[in-house]
Amino acid sequence: MKYNSVFDIIGPVMIGPSSSHTAGAARIGKAARTLFGKSPKWAKIYLYESFAKTYKGHGTDFALAGGLLGFETDDTRMSNALNIAKERDFYIEFIEDSAAVDHPNTARIVLGNETDTLELVGVSIGGGKVEITELNGFELRLSGNHPAILIMHNDRFGAIASVTTILAKHQINIGHMEVNRKDVGKEALMVIEVDQNVDDDVLHELDNAEHIIQISKIVS
């Protein structure tokens, strides 16, 4: 089920005016910021369908910016987020894209700093709830209902085993897991939904495991 909590329905507490276009947009931005793991210096944001048509009126632009700055949906600085980004030399560009997408409220965010970039597609499905459907070209279904670990790794035998062994050692139960790769032997993405939030020392251990390129986590 897409929605698993009463607080998806009665909530979130947020700055108006739209749960899909403002609160949801902020959460997509925040997810991108969290997965990037540091402050981005620039972002290109592609908006589709309803997002593209109405983003100015709904404040989708400042909400995405607010999320990228790490703001929660009820942060009162939200409507000023574009100015705050400018003050912090964080350059954001919005592009209205007319391509067809599965869901009307879709945003593609490409963000980066001097050395790294990250690309993510987020969908605002209603009432402030979002799903991340693509990360760095990999399709995924991240509901945000549970904490998750995202692991970029090389497509080699033993990569998955080394990760699950570490999780088992720390008695962390896996609720859902998917593995996606671009091609045989190339980069791959492991998405692991777990039952409880994972400590940083476990992440550090995972980061040092064989064939692992990059680790990030999402707290539910």
Binding site: M1, Y3, D8, I10, P17, S18, T54, G57
Partner: protein, 291 residues
């Protein structure tokens, strides 16, 4: 975990508990939290709703100037005249519109289930409160009952205007409020379901056509419609009126209608009221001719 209204009502009847209690127990199980933690979280939402209404009744105005101040106009009218539709109903209308005026003015609100439809549930709650005199706990339960029904809609249809039109937003919100009013007034779980069905039936087909794409016109006044319908349906259900089409089938109809709606009528600001001469004029005035 309940998936349908039928299952929700069955659990409540079999265990002889309220709809709100079914929702609370499910939330405790899913989130592995105590009753106190979940109550605390909902109490915060209730406080946000109460504060938003307070702000609205002091008078607010949106950045564009398109909305604001109507909640106050209605309150003044109620003091000076005898409203034809009755004080309770008009109080709910005023507080529902007020909540959405605060939302349009980029104030802090609680989405129920969305921001554009955030007026119906709190508007009715803080109006019905003056007649039913609930405890704070019963007011929190009101939100769990509304949430239980919204939970079914969100998982079987949609709750956003972009996905299913205004019927999915204000339709759901008004229907959720109906069900919660019935429980607070002492009705049965089945009567809550009947009230929900009757409100949503009257909202079927309602499109999402915001002028200039803003959550202002007609959203604020649609919350007036949703909240008044919520009270009327609740009274009908409490009187023993039932819906010939079962609640879950009404939700199914809402889903299929939403699927058939063209994108111009799903929160793109392109069709309906947005595409009237005045709607287009306002958009041009606010954003310039090029947009």
């Amino acid at each position: 975990m309940f998936r349908t209204v039928k299952e929700l009502v069955e659990i409540a009847e079999n265990e002889n508990i309220l709809i709100s209690e079914v929702m609370i127990r499910q939330e405790m199980e899913v989130k592995e939290k105590t009753r106190e933690e979940i109550y605390g979280e909902m109490e915060k939402n209730l406080q946000v709703m109460e504060n938003a209404i307070e702000d609205a009744l002091k008078g607010v105005e949106s950045v564009t100037g398109l909305t604001g101040g109507d909640a106050v106009l209605i309150q003044n009218y109620m003091k000076e005249k005898t409203p034809l539709s009755g004080n309770l109903l008009l109080d709910a209308v005023s507080k529902a519109m007020g909540t959405n005026e605060v939302n349009a003015a980029m104030g802090t609100i609680c989405a129920t289930p969305t921001a554009g439809s955030a007026g119906c549930v709190p508007g009715t709650l803080f109006a019905v409160k003056n007649q039913l005199h609930p405890t704070r706990e019963q007011m929190i339960r009101y939100l769990f009952t509304a949430g239980a029904f919204g939970f079914v809609v969100a998982n079987n249809a949609f709750i956003s205007g972009a996905a299913g039109g205004c019927q999915a937003e204000v339709g759901s919100a008004g229907a959720m409020a109906s069900a919660a009013i019935v429980e607070m007034a002492g009705g049965t779980p089945q009567q809550s379901a009947e009230a929900f069905a009757m409100t949503l039936k009257n909202m079927l087909g309602l499109v999402c056509d915001p002028v200039a794409g803003l959550v202002e016109v007609p959203c604020v006044k649609r919350n007036a419609g949703g909240s008044s319908l919520a009270i009327v349906s609740a009274d009908m259900a409490l009187a023993g009126v039932t819906s010939r089409i079962p609640c879950d089938e009404v939700i199914g109809a809402m889903y299929r209608i939403g699927k058939q709606m063209p994108s111009s009528l799903r929160e793109t600001g392109e069709g309906g009221l947005a595409d009237t001469p005045t709607g287009r004029f306002l958009k041009d005035k606010l954003f310039g001719i090029t947009s």
